[in-house]
């Protein structure tokens, strides 16, 4: 669940990316392509949700607890309140992806800033930032999310913010390591001798070179954020105004024994999407790491 946020094989791979043949390398990876395809389908569905299933997916439109294929108008059945599962899944894709990407962006933003400043300047600033990072890493991430959501209210914005706040330390550590190794390199020295400002060196010179492993981690962070939202909704702490896969699992779980499809369908959707993101992460990982490709 929440715990994905810190994991990541990527922490090992502070290796500069291969510069050429990248596109073809991307497409030579069948798993990467599969991941892209799955994510593409999910994203497309999320985008056209309003066309496929116009109207509020939370509206009570049919008799409750219809099984999939029992009635043609509700291909995937209805839940215990008579809401259309298919509509919920498609609209839920949008919510899950929004949460995933916005939480990851927030985490990326904070993590990159903290890591870049600490790694570039070193010294006291670095010391303080490392302590702050440790502090956030020591507090169990999921608990932190719960507390932040309790302070605000369970709306999409607050949930995304909470997950972002709980997940930035991984990125910060990664970026800091990258910056520490890159700041001594020739091109940075050159930039300094040209009198570029620190801000420019950080964002224009070093950051682009530090990005590859960060991008890989980001894909896994999106996956982690989706899983965290699922766990949160499962504990009834999701946003009640939108359908998310997590809330669908949460609603359906007490009927796990009688109507298992209520949990199975959104559960599978979650697992597939997260799988796709992880496949993409793996693909990026291998492409950015030329030594792995030698084999």
């Amino acid at each position: 669940m929440s715990t994905n946020m810190t994991s990541l094989p990527v922490t090992l791979l502070a290796v500069p990316a291969a510069k050429n043949g990248r596109l073809s390398a991307f497409l030579r990876q069948p798993t990467f392509v599969a991941g892209l395809l799955i994510l593409g389908v999910v994203m497309t569905l999320a985008c056209v949700a309003d066309l496929l299933y116009p109207g509020d997916p939370q509206d009570l439109v049919g008799p409750p607890l219809l099984w999939p294929f029992q009635k043609t108008e509700f291909q995937l059945g209805t839940d215990s309140l008579g809401r259309d599962i298919a509509a919920g899944l498609v609209h839920g894709a949008r919510v899950s992806l929004i949460i995933g990407f916005s939480a990851a962006s927030i985490g990326l933003l904070i993590g990159t800033l903290v890591g870049a400043v600490g790694g570039y300047f070193g010294g006291l600033a670095d010391n303080v930032l490392v302590r702050v990072t440790e502090l956030f890493q020591t507090v169990p991430a999921f608990l932190l999310v719960v507390v932040i959501v309790a302070i605000g209210e369970p709306s999409l914005k607050v949930i995304a913010l909470a997950i972002g706040i709980a997940s930035w330390p991984t990125i910060a550590r990664l970026v800091r390591a990258q910056f520490r190794s890159l700041r001594e390199q020739d091109f940075v020295m050159a930039a300094r001798s040209l009198g570029y400002s620190d801000t420019r060196i950080i964002f224009v010179e070093i950051l682009p070179n530090a990005l590859p492993p960060v991008v890989v981690t980001a894909s896994v962070m999106v996956a982690g954020a989706i899983l965290t939202e699922t766990g949160l909704s499962f504990l009834n702490m999701g946003d009640p105004n939108v359908v998310s896969w997590g809330s669908m699992i949460g609603d359906g779980r007490e009927m796990l024994r009688t109507a298992w499809f209520l949990t199975a369908l959104p559960g599978t959707a979650t697992a597939l999407t997260v799988l796709a993101l992880n496949l993409i992460g793996d693909g990026l990982n291998e492409i950015f790491n030329p030594r792995m490709r030698e084999r």
């Binding site: 509206d59 009834n236 946003d239 105004n241 024994r257």
Partner: protein, 546 residues
């Protein structure tokens, strides 16, 4: 000998203390041997005590004595150890418990109780009227409802060690129903005198007069009570041990019932959606009795200070848009009763079954909103509101979702706001930062205790939960409620409450929707579980396993 013991474990219901006919014993013995040979690998998995009953609760009680905290979980366990003066039949008529007889003076201002002789606390000290008097004075101070229940009490006297006399300034017609173990627990004076009741260690390791002695509380896990061999009601209790387990997850509770690892639970201990499936299982029984001490009413409370709900036409329109049949059948899976009145149908003598003047009628609703000048701005939505819901039941959220969908049909866009109980209570009662809210309130044992607080204008007190949340104020209603609170003649009193119900049904400061049916679920081997009005909350002295 060993085999015999293992055998009893396997059968799960050994001989009921005492001797069995020789022949049955032999058969049992043979069965035991067979069973133990087959199942001996799993023998250590089954409870060793044949006569254990296990109760399931969703969450851990904050205290084991319902003195300063009356959370449902505390009520569930308190009465096993700490008894009250009376217990009640299904129809709430009083029966002796620690008091053997009682008398109310004709003017309703003096209650005298004859207390049971020879009763001892679990620590061996004798129980006397001094304990009872001390407890009532203490409850008046520290019990969440004590200050209102015992408001008219002027003095509590102990003319002799077995007699208790309570004197009132005015009659309190509901008072005779307030002496149940959970509502008015009698605690040992020698342990509480001169201490702070809330932090008294007796709350964690209770000493009482009840059929069960407290043995162990493994935090987050279970509580164990043991049979009190010196119980005044000997040979009760009939079981050796009572275990209370906490299982936070509804699906896990269902599984625990099916696998037999818990024996009973009350207030519908499993998900409503799971009931039909569980009902088909032969080893489970369902009981509707034993829930009459606390009927609930689920309500939609309007904030009458809200710019829209100030207008009665808007409230009428909302009333017209909600179909209580759907709430019963879909939200509560049929396990609820429609009510239009704040007094639950269960309180038969008081409840007014007349349907609301604002029946389900979407056209009427739309017309009312048009008249109120709230025409749709974009062709669809008239205005937007936020609906809060009490998170303590899962049905609260489902009901809120239904109301959102229903009001969308008449052009009122509703956003739901989720929060935990603390935030909800603060928002509604302290900050008053809400439009309308799905809430529930218990009628308790009498409308004066359970209903008056919701409509009485003097009960509009910021910061006090489950008070008058709507900010309703009607002098006539105030008068009726105040009069009913001291009316000694039962018939006149019923008349006053009928009139009260007519007025609030017309005024609709809130919408009373349904009264949930609370089922007690138990293993078929458990008997005599719901012999009193408070069912599983009672002392369970009569419960037996067979």
């Amino acid at each position: 000998m060993t085999i015999e013991r293992i055998g009893q474990r396997q059968n799960g219901c050994g001989p009921a203390r005492g001797s069995l006919p020789e022949s049955r014993r032999t058969t049992r013995w043979i069965k035991s041997v067979l069973a133990s040979t087959v199942l001996c690998a799993g023998a250590w998995l089954t409870p060793a005590h044949a006569e254990t009953a296990t109760m399931v609760l969703a969450t851990e009680p904050p205290t084991l004595v319902s003195l300063t905290n009356v959370a449902t979980t505390a009520l569930a366990v308190s009465g096993k150890v700490t008894e009250g003066l009376l217990e009640y039949n299904e129809d709430l008529s009083p029966e002796p418990l620690l008091a053997t007889s009682w008398n109310i003076s004709p003017d309703g201002k003096e209650y005298s109780f004859k207390l049971r002789e020879g009763v001892r606390w679990h620590d061996g000290k004798p129980f006397t009227a001094a304990d009872a008097a001390f407890s009532i004075n203490l409850l008046k101070k520290v019990h969440p409802r004590g200050r209102s229940t015992f408001a008219n009490v002027t003095s509590v006297e102990v003319p002799d060690p077995q007699t208790l006399v309570i004197k009132l300034s005015q009659p309190a017609p509901y008072l005779i129903k307030a002496f149940a173990s959970t509502e008015t627990p009698i605690v040992p004076k020698h342990l509480y005198e001169g201490t702070d009741a809330a932090s008294n260690p007796n709350g964690n390791t209770p000493i009482g007069t009840g059929p069960f002695k407290f043995k162990e509380w493994q935090r987050g896990n279970y509580i164990v009570y043991e049979r009190n061999p010196d119980y005044w009601g000997k040979p009760d209790p009939k079981i050796d041990r009572l275990v209370v387990k906490f299982i936070p997850d509804a699906a896990a509770r269902s599984i625990a019932f099916e696998s037999g690892s818990v024996d009973f639970g009350y207030r519908t201990p499993v998900a409503l959606s799971d009931l039909d499936r569980l009902k088909s299982l032969p080893n489970l029984k369902f009981e509707t009795k034993g829930a009459s001490y606390s009927y609930n009413v689920t309500r939609l409370e309007f904030n009458l200070d809200n710019q829209y709900f100030r207008d009665k036409r808007v409230r009428e329109a909302v009333a017209h848009a909600i179909d209580r049949k759907v709430i019963v059948n879909t939200i509560h899976y049929g396990y609820a009763t429609i009510t239009y009145s704040p007094i639950a149908p269960g309180l038969k003598e008081f409840h007014d079954p007349t349907p609301s003047p604002y029946a389900y009628d979407l056209k009427a609703a739309a017309k009312l909103l048009d008249e109120a000048g709230l025409k749709p701005t974009d062709g669809k939505t008239r205005f937007r509101l936020t609906l809060d819901f009490n998170p303590i039941t899962t049905e609260g959220r489902r009901l809120a979702e239904y109301i959102r969908a229903s009001l969308a049909r008449i052009g009122i866009a509703v956003d739901l706001r989720a929060q935990d109980i603390s935030a909800f209570v603060k928002r509604i009662y302290t900050d008053r930062d809400f439009d309308f809210a799905v809430n529930g309130a218990s009628n308790l044992f009498d409308p004066t205790v359970g209903v008056q607080r919701l409509y009485w204008s003097k009960s509009f007190v910021k910061g006090v939960p489950f008070s008058n949340a709507t900010h309703y104020s009607n002098p006539e209603v105030d008068r009726l409620l105040e009069q009913a609170a001291v009316e000694n003649d039962p018939k006149t009193r019923v008349g006053l409450f009928k009139k009260f119900q007519d007025i609030v049904a017309e005024d609709i400061p809130d919408l009373n929707l349904v009264s949930p049916t609370f089922l007690t679920l138990h293993n078929a081997k458990i008997h005599d579980l719901a012999t009193t009005a408070d069912g599983a909350e009672g002392n369970l002295a009569h419960l037996y396993v067979k």
